[in-house]
Symmetry: C2
């Protein structure tokens, strides 16, 4: 194109592109997730954004397929990944002989869905997944580790009033079986999944519609809406034992999971058996989780997952059971930001701005190297601007400290630091200045990213 | 598709997909880059992988455009980003009024180029970029900060025998001007850029081909191949002063950059003026850098960059000068891995594997929570397998410690830890075991990721 023509710099709608200070907060949340996943010994795994369409779409049909970004390049039919689970299945099947099981992996990456654009809906978004994959079998204790990871993440971020709701699909299937409803289990599950949204009456009506008698519908709803301590819910379920093998197995799994979650140190108020959590997907076969922020149930589940029998049945005949969970990171961030729950005090890219007051900046440059060695994120303001412009820069970037280096300071081998929050200003030896700053910065570091 | 049909799980060629242990090493290198960029106070900026084609391809023509993954979705003409510079230009132009300048940003992300597949060439690869963008003007001291960041990264990774070669395009342009060669500057630059590859004689021949006299070609090559200390090279260049304004300006910039790089603490042996570094692109207008691993010049530059006058001339009429550099992270990792330069001792996802020897795993689960609080990456082996299988798991994952929890240990409130590297095994109080492990782990943490 001819020089001088200006193209309007647009970004596609549904593609989150944050201003600098918000991006700092986003990265802090992402880092908390990564740190926690690593603390539990999960491998990081990075798979391509692009895959062969026939590989990526081996399983899916219908709605998902319509949303996929799919195109030809040369003679290849390509698709952009729409989640991180299918690429994981491909990865494990492909690398089966090189992997040691149980295989614990996390992945935080962008996925793509060409959904209808609407506020709070994204076409490019981060998912942050963890999964534990067994070879043939996988201990039920893993199903308790996942909620402990969810708890750890949300607590580290600063949330406390959240509940991980836990259920077991075998318990539900067992209840259906007891009532002669095995064949319509999938339909019933789909109806139950909506109970929080549509309410008891509509659920009952829909259950009757899919062939459940009014009496059984009432029983099912009675059980599924039963809210009590975990121990009492298990006690109630014990009353149904001995009538369905699958129910008994599910109850035993559910009891084990609840027992071990406590051992992981998760407080009772943060996890609760909720028999109405079904999770629509066929994929799940045992434990299922959803996580709700109690003040904002309308947000829906911010972190969901569960146990499945076969990760990769489309790619291998090996039995690869697993358990995992996923956080929709982009949407989660969007909501926190919209509600103004984020700690904007933590949105600076630097801890200190060195402001040289002399033409030669050698002293500033040397000191910057020392500060970075002490772990202090350091910028130097190098432009020839008026003093006010330099201070404005520090303020606009919310940098907590400014350090002035004039001829007097350099001659006396001192530095002047100003705490930009309190306004307090002192001229000190460099070592004393570092101590002063580190103390304040360590306090800031203790603050939560979510202030709610 | 019908269940039971198996799709071969393939990955596209040119798309790096690492085995788990190599991915751990990749993530460590990536984290070193991120940490360093943050230490210098750069903002993280994340832009979409997909953009409007007319926005992304506003500037490019020819070879780049052919390689772009471009397609239609609905009525939109979309392209996948092929570098991180064009998205940055778009971002800065779009958010101009919200940005405080100088704007320091880093970006580490995947980019896409449908190149001819060949060993060591990638179609999806990470770039790790930093740029400092001024509004109208930008101090030359910034041009010295970039090499100090390169130095810091490579040193932190464990490399020492590398050289950042530095030049200034104005010095070259000035030399051409003095010799009446202003018009063929771009052609000459392109020839000179190859001098390391094609040698002096071929360079001379090619210079004559683009219209340089034999005598001038000899002079240019003489200057450009002059190797000496930075001070001596500058002294030699001083001899040409007063004959071209652009030369004098370039020499002044180059002197300032060399002066300040030293102040940043970069040892003299790691940066050298190399007047043959031209960097083919029109884009650069002042300082240019390339970085070479001295034992392997055949790898080419592993980190390049420079100063430019206009970041975003296709999107805005604002003058946005900047300076930056880019590391081709995927290729860099690929080479390090091929040469076996990576420290495989650091490739474990966990620091300790707890091996419960009783049916009830409560003790193991409780202890795991304590270990993680101490910053020890902890896995529990939960599967019912023979003891040998459990130890094999720890060995295969290169986990440095195993912790055994049998009835005796639990009864005595002790744990048995085994150093998997030395084979040393001890039964200790938990606190003492933690101290023992932390000491070893901290030593490991001091080790470099690159062992060369």
């Amino acid at each position: 194109m001819a020089k001088g023509n200006i193209i309007t710099p647009r970004t596609l709608s549904g593609f989150m592109e944050l201003p600098p200070q918000e991006q700092v907060l986003f990265e802090r949340i992402k880092a908390t997730l990564e740190d926690t996943y690593q603390m539990y010994g999960f491998y990081p795994i990075d798979t391509p954004v692009l895959e062969y369409s026939n590989v990526l779409l081996a399983k899916s049909a219908g709605e998902t397929e319509k949303q996929v970004y799919r195109f030809n390049k040369g003679d290849k039919d390509l698709s952009m990944r729409f989640d991180l689970t299918v690429p994981l299945a491909k990865y494990v099947a492909k690398n089966y002989s090189a992997i040691t099981f149980p295989f614990k992996r996390y992945a935080i990456g962008k996925v793509y869905r060409g959904e209808r654009a609407q506020k709070g809906r994204f076409r490019e978004f981060y998912q942050a997944d963890i999964d534990i994959i067994g070879d043939g079998s996988l201990s039920i204790v893993n199903d308790a580790e996942i909620p402990s990871i969810i708890y750890s993440i949300f607590t580290d971020l600063g949330l406390s009033n959240f509940t991980i709701r836990i259920n077991n699909r075998k318990v539900l299937n067992g209840l259906f079986e007891m009532n002669g409803l095995d064949d319509s289990a999938t339909d019933i599950m789909r109806v139950i999944d909506k109970i929080d949204k549509i309410g008891v009456d509509a659920t009952k009506a829909e259950l009757i519609e899919v062939g459940v008698t009014e009496e059984v519908a009432a029983t099912l709803i009675d059980i599924m809406t039963y809210k009590d301590t975990n121990a009492n819910v298990i006690a109630k379920l014990e009353g149904y034992k001995g009538r369905s093998e699958v129910f008994d197995l599910g109850l035993s799994e559910l009891s084990d999971v609840i027992y071990y979650i406590g051992k992981f140190g998760v407080p009772e108020e943060n996890y609760r058996i909720d028999l109405s959590i079904a999770r629509g997907l066929d994929y799940y076969t045992g434990t299922v989780y959803e996580t709700f922020v109690n003040d904002h149930p309308e947000i829906g589940s911010v972190c969901s997952g569960g146990r499945y029998d076969n990760l990769a049945e489309y790619y291998t005949k090996k039995s690869l059971p697993g358990v995992g969970m996923s956080i929709g990171l982009t949407r989660f961030f969007y909501i926190l930001n919209e509600y103004k729950y984020l700690n904007t005090k933590l949105n600076s890219p630097a801890d200190v701005l060195i402001i040289p007051m002399t033409d030669d900046m050698s002293a500033a440059v040397s000191i910057s190297a020392t500060l970075r060695e002490c772990g202090i994120r350091t910028q130097i303001y190098m432009e020839k601007k008026k003093f006010k412009a330099k201070i404005t820069y520090a303020n606009k970037l919310s940098i907590p400290f400014a350090m002035f280096l004039g001829e007097d300071e350099i001659a006396a081998d001192k530095v002047t630091i100003k705490n930009m929050i309190t306004g307090n200003q002192e001229t000190l030896d460099l070592d004393a200045a570092i101590d002063t700053m580190v103390e304040v910065l360590e306090e800031m570091d203790e603050e939560s990213i979510i202030t709610k």
